[in-house]
Symmetry: C2
Subunit: 373 residues, 2 copies
């Protein structure tokens, strides 16, 4: 029944001293598994195999301890929802516990396909074997489907690799889902015929539970090049389902909407790397959007670095994915971004592409020249 | 196209002075809608109808401002995922913004059924017209389906109104979903035949996206009395789908796993009331589990009160629901809980029911006597 194999969750725990840290770490071991008074557990098997286990505990900063906790693979079952539950379900409610990193043995990680394409697959699809990839978004909300399609056309003509829906475009009356997807997909296809490139239009398919599969299917049939999903809204496992789906067979760009509370306070939630990198990756994102430092949001360079590292860290057969720094990026920052991220990145510039003259295709070409194309 | 109707989101914003608070509140108006440089918006209609609007802004505490923001109902579309996105999608990533409360006009709230049963419907189903309702959980993880069913049987014989799965029971090899559900449903049915009561067995159906509907269906066919769902894991809209489903037609108990990061820091995320009360309620929970003050978690009495208030606050035709304080409650605290919560509550006591002698049914009867049954 129990193989003895364990997966590892590394937490940072706030405590006044090591003794208190030990108590809090042990609490994690029980809270995430049995949720039951330890002394009342009468089955030895449960103590041995179901309880989490503290592998190590050390102070890493004043009042901050690193607890390496091992859980039996069996408690996580064969499903992402339960794996997430063991990693951070109940303890999300407790202050002063932050999930920093996960390490899954092959027996567990092999239950997950992860990203279908990953970095290599996406480059192949785009026919851009090296250098940074370029993307932008159709926006703002309130434009009609026709107006957004016109933007998509100009962006694609200008040499973008990926054109995504703004994540707030869902199925509003002023821009219905089906009309937007049909028009934008057609516009990008038309541009691709002119350029000979394979720019991908990636609509936002974050949607209600009962419409999610149908929207994916509609978009696929309309000829889109991939999907934007906000797993904080749709659930991480809905994204995993898309990645696993052989009929959809398209790349996924994950968007951080509603996931921010997990990272926003340094002493709770999850590290930027484990959430935006490891967990999004396990859940099938081929590329992960996050707020770059120095934009509209408050991420620090070190937090962005943490994400980059997590997109690449070995995770069994789970492919590495692209980091997508975004959130108010400007063309003038491209050299700095390249210095920070290197060539292994998708640059996403939205609003600022509208600020460099009326010819959007020409602005895209400026963007492309900045990365040496 | 735009009706002029707006819904209201009340935020607390951290700022050093009113001027900064004004800038931050205006940022919410744009970040949650257009995500685009304001000066580049050329369509007047977007300024008028898509931009959020600050209805009022006042300092409520030192460095803490309350911003009442109004959004056009049209930006939220007809779907919970997008409504949540407008309320808190991108700004979840920004520190110092907390969603405190929502007010939806009938034109928006009427798109949502909310809880199918609510307080009255649940009391009717249980045939307990007044007084607190009593519930417990089958646990700990690691018991077999047969062992859990035996617990369920004894709890039901002892007079519990609702018996839930521990939320960590999913579909593990040591306790497969179908076997657990079949055995526990049968055990509670058998006990009900003996007692003449209608105790509800509520299994945990939180599960992967592609299995979610099938597990609900299996459980329904097995004769369960309701469902436990952790919307933080499955997505809030999956729960909404269950509540809306005429064939399932069963009450829902929501569990806070993985939602904790939203409330854990007072200056970010969401208030306890808006999350555990209003949003869970809008998403179809008939009763909402949350950590009671003074248990294993760190909620304060005022935060629990905030939840209670939100389960009852008028929300158009959306029914009021039960608060379910839990998390390490003990029998000895029942009088205090009744004083705090009154009769309008579901008391959930898990592990402690095992601590008062070997006869679990007898322990349940002690629990029942404490509420005057």
């Amino acid at each position: 029944m129990y193989t003895g194999e364990r997966f590892i969750a590394i937490y940072h725990v706030s405590a006044k001293d090591k003794e208190e840290a030990q108590v809090r770490a042990w609490d994690i071991c029980l809270e995430q598994t049995i949720e039951f008074p330890e002394d009342l557990v009468w089955k030895e098997e449960i103590r041995e195999h179901v309880f989490g286990r503290i592998a190590s505990l050390e102070e890493v900063d004043f009042g901050r301890f690193q607890a390496v906790v091992e859980f039996s693979v069996e408690v996580a079952g064969r499903e992402l929802t339960q794996l997430l539950n063991v990693l951070f379900g109940n303890i999300s409610i407790k202050p002063g516990i932050r999930l920093m990193k996960i390490q899954l043995p092959d027996s567990l990680s092999s239950l997950y396909r992860g990203p279908r394409f990953g970095c290599e697959g996406l480059r192949e699809k785009l026919n851009v074997p090296e250098g940074p990839l370029l993307s932008t978004a159709v926006k703002p909300m309130g434009l009609t489907a026709e107006e957004l399609a016109e933007l998509a056309y100009r962006f694609a003509l200008g040499g973008m690799d990926m054109i995504k829906d703004d994540h707030g475009l869902s199925d509003q009356e002023f821009c219905p889902f089906e009309e937007r997807i049909s028009r934008c997909a057609e516009a990008v296809r038309r541009a691709n015929q002119e350029t000979g490139r394979n720019c991908l239009y990636m609509p936002n398919i974050t949607s209600p539970f009962h419409e999610f599969a149908a929207r994916c299917k509609f978009a696929k049939d309309a000829g889109v090049g991939g999907f934007v999903i906000s797993p904080g809204l749709s659930g991480l496992d809905a994204m995993r389902w898309v990645a696993d789906n052989d009929e959809l067979n398209l790349p996924i760009l994950s968007h951080p909407a509603m996931q921010g509370s997990l990272t926003v306070h340094n002493s709770a939630g999850m590290s930027h790397g484990v959430l935006y990198g490891q967990i999004n990756r396990l859940a099938g994102a081929d590329a992960c959007i996050f707020p770059n430092y120095g934009g509209r949001f408050a991420f620090m360079p070190q937090e962005c670095r943490d994400i980059v590292d997590a997109t690449q860290v070995p995770m069994g057969a789970i492919k590495p994915i692209f980091p997508v720094p975004a959130g108010g990026m400007k063309l003038q920052r491209v050299p700095e971004l390249l210095e920070f991220y290197g060539n292994h990145v998708i640059l996403l510039i939205g609003g600022d592409l509208h600020r460099h003259g009326p010819d959007l295709s020409e602005n895209c070409k400026k963007f492309a020249r900045l990365v040496g194309r």
